[in-house]
């Protein structure tokens, strides 16, 4: 216990020299699923909110009272169980998401981090992010989280306009959001991210340009800009469908996105993922793990994971989902140590499909090295370099395949979802063709220990 408790302090002390600057941006070493040493990112889901936002369809719950001690105990127990099952040697990052995890007490965050540090190696300086709502992010609260071991904040500002915030069903005003960001920057300098939405019903080009300017005056070194997605079943989507709010036109959305890319680029931000911008190397290590298709463990109600069950002798990555409903999840954790609702072994093709889908969202794309981890037999050139969809998309200027790997061009990134079906279709075809002629070969390869891919 004492050792674990000591960890956050060490981390806090070392904050100035944290990996951030340049660290996460560089490709880390291979993240082999089955070769030692195994590493993984860890996501912790806090499912509760004080109020549901009008656009949100996440797995969140608004309840009168949360039995935090029980939830904490279950988060701790599930983290321990899953880390043991995965035999992950080192946890590369921890992310507390939700829900509204800033509503949890710092003690819960500390308890989970201690459990992680106890069950696996949690390097000093590993990124520990907490999502925070401006309405529950006063300086004192944030300081408590810092003391608990959090070293990066992601603040859900969403908008800097009070009318927009009301439409989104947010509990805070623009002024409160500003205050929260300023407090956060004081406590987590260089490691405060803000979330912002664009393409809100009725939002104009000019209004968005103004929001961007205001954002630049406020922000630290990381911004996530999300085009509002009208998710089915949300109050906002229903209002738009009923005609009570206007649906933003496609061309306007494209304009807003392009404006944001240009404005943030001019301000020194690297557009490192479809919706994420960072300067001074302040990329999110944790989120990069997803986009690089590294292992991650999901803890908490409804959390998703991708990892190998090495404790069970597994050698293939599984897609795992924890039970979404908190009470049921807790019951399962209490009785069996974890609340895994579903698990499915991912085939080599499925892993490559995920790698392609996620990797192309980043500016670095999919490196040859990373592809090689998943597909030692067929390299990127063999799959996408031959005449076919990818070649055509390269010629049309949407895609690049070169010594750096496969990635989108500036224009291609904005239309990635139009590129992916063709690329996936080509991947399926090429792999299908490769599998057929030399029968049995890939299976032997898989069985031959250590191979992660085909």
């Amino acid at each position: 216990m004492a050792a674990a408790r000591g960890w956050p302090r060490r981390l806090a002390a070392a904050a100035g020299a944290l990996p951030g600057r340049g660290g996460p941006g560089r490709a880390p070493g291979p993240a082999p699923d089955t070769a030692a040493p195994a590493t993984a990112a860890l996501y912790v889901h806090w499912p509760y909110c004080r109020k549901r936002c009008s656009y949100c369809n996440f797995n969140t719950y608004v309840v009168p009272a949360v039995d935090e001690a029980a939830v904490r105990a279950c988060l701790v127990r599930e983290a321990q169980t899953l880390l043991r099952l995965s035999q992950v040697h080192s946890v590369t990052s921890v992310f507390f998401g939700g829900g509204t995890p800033s509503l949890a007490s710092p003690g819960t965050v500390a308890a989970v981090l201690e459990a992680v540090a106890g069950a696996a190696h949690l390097p000093a300086g590993a990124e520990v992010t907490l999502e925070a709502n401006p309405s529950s992010a006063s300086a004192s609260v944030l300081d408590g989280f810092r003391a608990a071991g959090v070293n990066r904040l992601s603040i859900g500002v969403q908008s800097l306009d009070d009318a927009e915030l009301r439409m989104l069903g947010r509990e805070h005003t623009a002024a409160e959001a500003r205050k929260a960001v300023e407090a956060a920057r004081g406590l987590f300098p260089g490691r405060t991210s803000i979330d912002l939405l664009f393409g809100l019903p009725g939002q104009s080009r000019d209004a968005w340009a103004q929001r961007l300017e205001a954002t630049l005056r406020l922000c630290d070194d990381h911004i996530s800009l999300y085009q509002l997605t009208l998710e089915r079943g949300t109050a906002l989507a229903a209002q738009v469908r009923a005609g009570a709010l206007p649906a933003p036109p496609q061309d306007l959305l494209a304009d807003m996105y392009h404006t944001a890319r240009n404005v943030l680029g001019a301000a020194g931000f690297r557009h490192y993922e479809v919706s994420n911008f960072a300067r001074k190397g302040a990329l999110s290590t944790h989120n990069l793990s997803y986009w690089r298709a590294e292992q991650y463990i999901g803890v908490g109600p409804g959390a998703h994971g991708r990892f190998v069950l090495r404790a069970e002798g597994g050698c293939s990555r599984e897609a795992r989902v924890q039970t979404p409903e908190p009470v049921a999840w807790m019951r399962e954790v209490q009785s069996q140590g974890h609340g895994t609702r579903s698990r499915a072994v991912l085939s080599p093709l499925e892993q490559l499909e995920e790698l392609l889908t996620l990797g192309l969202r980043t500016d670095e794309g999919i490196t040859h090295e990373r592809w090689g981890h998943f597909s030692p037999q067929l390299n990127l050139q063999a799959v996408f370099g031959e005449p076919g969809e990818a070649r055509a998309l390269q010629q049309e200027g949407w895609l690049v395949l070169d010594s750096g790997g496969l990635r989108c061009t500036w224009a291609g990134l904005a239309v990635l979802d139009s590129l992916l079906p063709a690329l996936l279709w080509q991947l399926q075809r090429v792999l299908g063709a490769a599998r057929c002629p030399p029968r049995g070969a890939p299976a032997e390869e898989r069985a031959g220990g250590g191979a992660r891919g085909l």
């Binding site: 996501y43 797995n59 999300y226 085009q227 509002l228 997605t229 496609q250 061309d251 959305l253 494209a254 996105y257 392009h258 479809v274 919706s275 989120n287 997803y290 986009w291 991650y296 999901g298 409804g302 959390a303 998703h304 994971g305 991708r306 897609a319 989902v321 499925e350 499909e353 995920e354 889908t357 996620l358 969202r361 049309e396 949407w398 990134l413 904005a414 239309v415 990635l416 979802d417 139009s418 590129l419 992916l420 079906p421 063709a422 996936l424 279709w425 399926q428």
Partner: protein, 658 residues
Amino acid sequence: MALAGRAALRWGARLPSPGPAAAPLCRPAWLPAACGRPYSSRGKEEIDMSTYPVESIRNFSIIAHVDHGKSTLADRLLEITGTISKTDHNKQVLDKLQVERERGITVKAQSASLFYNHEGINYLLSLIDTPGHVDFSYEVSRSLSACQGVILVVDANEGIQAQTVANFYLAFEAQLSIIPVINKIDLKNADPERVEKQIEKLFDIPTDECIRISAKQGTNVEKVLQKVIEKIPPPQCNTADPLKALVFDSTFDHYRGVVANIALFGGEIAKGHKIVSAHTKKRYEVNEVGILTPNEQPTHKLYAGQVGYLIAGMKEVTEAQIGDTLFLYKQPVEPLPGFKSVKPMVFAGMYPVDQTEYNNLKSALERLTLNDSSVTVHRDSSLALGAGWRLGFLGLLHMEVFNQRLEQEYNMSVILTAPTVPYKAVLSSAKLIKEYGKDQITIINPAQFPDKLSVSEYLEPIVLGTIVTPHEYIGKIITLCQDRRAVQKDLLYIDENRVMLKYLFPLNEIVVDFYDALKSLSSGYASFDYEDAGYQSADLIKMDILLNGNPVEELATIIHKDKAYAAGKLLCEHLKETIPRQLFEIAIQAAIGKKIIARETLKPYRKNVVAKCYGGDITRRMKLLRRQAEGKRLMRKIGNVEVPRDAFIRVLKRETDK
């Protein structure tokens, strides 16, 4: 378009099909067993048909507009004569198919012989249930040629309707005795007097000749039977003559082959006789003859003037074509006049929704056409829709009912493309004349449309349409008809507030949505019927649809020049809605030759990428993307433009499906 329900019924008609329903295999479950087709005789004793000489025989049909009570009257006649027992279940006894009962139409005509004693004489009354719809005017005319009279049923409330008129003229031209019957006099709004006046005005039948009945309640139905005996003459023929039998219908039975419905115009026929088809010249030995009551009941013989069935080892319905004449081997007779081969008037492409269903659909089509040789089937394939067929139908109702039977009886869901009509071209180019071996060709597929330079004239099929409507809708209806390039031939008030209009229509102007338009602008009150009226010269052109300059073969259409602009614009707009945006701009154009007549522009995607894709989003994301990747396989590529199969289906399907 909803096929179920009477509201969807286009011409409200009874359709025949040269084959009966797929009766044995597909007997609806609700049919009492006795109504089924027994494979052995029901009564052990065979009836001696020689006891019914020509003088005591009456052969007749009932004709009516849809829903005016034809089948109910038939039920009562069958009950009164003891042909079927009187129960509450006798509803449309002769209509056996699901589609018939649902839509109140007769798809497959059934005939029945009734025995009736009148003033001490035993009569053999043969009710020949003709298909009433003029889609099938040929079949109707053949059925009527086996009759000497008809009962013309008119609804006391609705009065004369378009189909009443068409049916009347068919009977009148066949010089049959006509017994006008005004039905449903029990209804609250019944106005038999008005209907009698309409009949007098339009058909020149004195009002006192009409019989007012309620088939539902049985009122005056007996009187109808008496009139049949009094007014309809017996057939003029002689048993001593050589055999001369008209095939007026045929059915396919999976166990016994073709069952042909026949009317004897001379001679007699019995098991063991060797007969010959005048049309095919094929020879057969008779296995069984009998009468329909309405189930098959074998008899020793059938004699001149009688109506019954025959089984003679015919394997396909095409061997027993409607209108054919059968005679005894080595005793040839002059065939009965009026035989024609079936001529489809409306064509449509039919494709399985899923290509893996191709073989199942093929076998369903084969089974259904076994009973309906009037449907022509040609294999066809479309780059977008895959392998399928081009089917020819006698008319629109025929097409709909065929499709509905396919769905109901064979559980097949199909893509049916918008119907087209057979155009003709009179060739002027010596080269083409030589190539085709004739100077006039029929064009079913736009790909075969010959260039104007090698053609002296294009021809389009026309029909004579009859519309009966309350007079307040007349203005709107005239406008509608003019929009459809129709030429007015007649306008007649059949009483103070009902009008009958006759128009010559180009057939292609009514094949898609005319009836729906007519019904909607007349609040459902106008009725419509049409009959074939040959061909007329027409200014036809072929309109191509281009995507980024590349023609889309399956969207080319033959169209009248005056309609091309509007149709081209509509088609382009429709395509713009159905083709998904792509990475580049797509020009959707309608063109006549090199001339672009309409254009829509589908803008490219400028942004298409999901905002959030983190650990918890991937599973759902992959599901969608894999489906889209799979969809790539089914894309039809026109140049670099990808068109999903769904887009083709939506555009090629009938407009009314929108």
